[in-house]
Amino acid sequence: MNDRQRAADIRMLASVANGDREALGALYDRFTPLLFPVALRIAGGHADAEDVMQEVWVQVWRRASSFDAARGSVPAWLMTITRSRALDHIRSRSARAKREETAEPPKQHAPDPAESAESRNVRAKLRAAFAELGPERTQVLELAYWEGLSQSEIAERTGSPLGTVKSWTRQGLERMRKLLPDGEWW
């Protein structure tokens, strides 16, 4: 993501904070291709993922003024909200039961025929970078990111010391960040 795009994102979010619904629509158009796959993979079903996304955009509308550009980018902020809402969704008992009935294994989604070659290329690079982290770091990040496990739960699940889990988490994110310099993704 270049500086110009970063600044444009911040302006759009500022417009949303000022009550501009068109700006919200523009943010929706720009970031749905990034956020929806995350909601889908965590929530498990298309309808659930759409419910999650609706809550995400309502929260964006209400909380746009709380965005702090000094602490991260707009896509990072939106991604945090998306993961939070999606993880909340699967943590609710009724949603969990529904998910078990309608669950679709994440890797069975057919490639989106409308996706551009450029976008496919970016996704492939991101997956490759993730695979570069090594099995332990990848597993720790997978469990935290997609399943919403706490570091204590990950330590218990993997049988690794808590301190090691914390270190792998930090090293995994640091390496992921280094493997993907600015401009490679959203």
Partner: protein
């Protein structure tokens, strides 16, 4: 590695952006950020970007076309953005205004009515008709004069008594309003805590001091209403506990905490400004009277991150 040893909280940053920290670790990191650590802030930005990269690797998928219009026509999006915070502040103020203004308006109306009534009987006799003077009889004049004197005293007596009654009534009304306000304050906390949209968060100890403090912050983001309940507040001599909210990493004081004799405090806020941006409540230990600056100067002892 040397950098890491200076900032052990750096190990917590990745867990924080993945929302995978225990409440205690989260409180520890937020307290550290609140005290200002550029290195951890920079690590936070990098780690946040990395989470976007992980999500970006998910298999491509798009929602139905209908979702866009469903989102944009959601009734929760029809008002002004951030309206929750602004509207909430208004709601809190309105509650105060409604009760106060209502009572005052009624009091003023009653006072006017009572002030008019005692004067009325005196007015007519104090205006002798022309016909009576034309009669010219001294006896009649004397009787009239006597009647006037009696009526004047009567009027004065009534007026004075009415004043006393008014003062008594005002005192009773004042007491009534105080009792009502006290009752309302006692009812406000349980009502606020159990209201839809209010979430309660434990204030977790950061481990910066050895004290058995505990507390809970209940917060309604929509209205900005909050109540912070604290126990075992016994600051060391020459120190005070101070309550803060964080918006991102920017702290704002909510004032020095005054506990009762048993070390308890229940602090109520009708509407904290810019509630939508609040990310945490925190308590720090400060010199008597509170921090001399805009940020904590003493250790942050408790933190409750607020979400949603």
């Amino acid at each position: 590695m040397a950098k890491h040893e200076r900032h052990p909280e750096l190990d917590l940053v990745a867990g924080y952006v993945l929302q995978a920290l225990s409440p205690r670790d989260e409180a520890r990191l937020l307290a550290h950020l609140m005290e200002g650590c550029e290195e951890c802030e920079a690590a936070m930005r990098d780690a946040s970007d990395a989470t976007v990269a992980i999500g970006g690797g998910a298999p491509a998928a798009m929602p139905s076309d209908a979702l866009r219009s469903r989102v944009l026509s959601d009734p929760r999006i029809s008002g002004s953005a951030g309206g929750a915070g602004a509207g909430g502040a208004g709601t809190g103020s309105d509650v105060g205004r409604d009760s106060g203004a209502g009572s005052d308006a009624e009091t003023n109306a009653d006072t006017d009515a009572d002030a008019r009534s005692p004067r009325a009987p005196g007015r007519t006799p104090l205006r002798p008709r022309d016909g009576a003077r034309a009669g010219g009889g001294k006896a009649i004049a004397g009787m009239l004069a006597a009647a006037c004197v009696v009526l004047m005293f009567g009027n004065y007596w009534f007026w004075q008594k009415a004043g006393e009654f008014r003062a008594e009534r005002d005192a009773v009304q004042r007491t009534l309003r105080e009792v009502e306000a006290e009752l309302s304050a006692k009812e406000w906390i349980p009502k606020m805590v159990t209201a839809p949209g209010t979430d309660c968060y434990d204030l977790a100890l950061t481990g910066s001091i050895d004290a058995p403090l505990n507390g809970t912050a209940c917060f309604a983001r929509e209205s900005g209403a909050a109540v912070v309940l604290l126990a075992e507040l016994r600051p060391p001599s020459g120190r005070d506990y101070e309550l803060w909210v964080l918006r991102g990493s920017v702290p704002t004081s909510l004032g020095v905490i005054r506990a009762d004799e048993e070390g308890r405090a229940a602090i109520r806020f009708d509407a904290i400004p810019d509630a939508g941006a609040i990310t945490a409540f925190a308590v720090s230990l400060e010199p008597t009277g509170g921090s001399p600056g805009p940020a904590p100067t003493g250790p942050v002892v408790m933190v409750a991150p607020v979400t949603g």
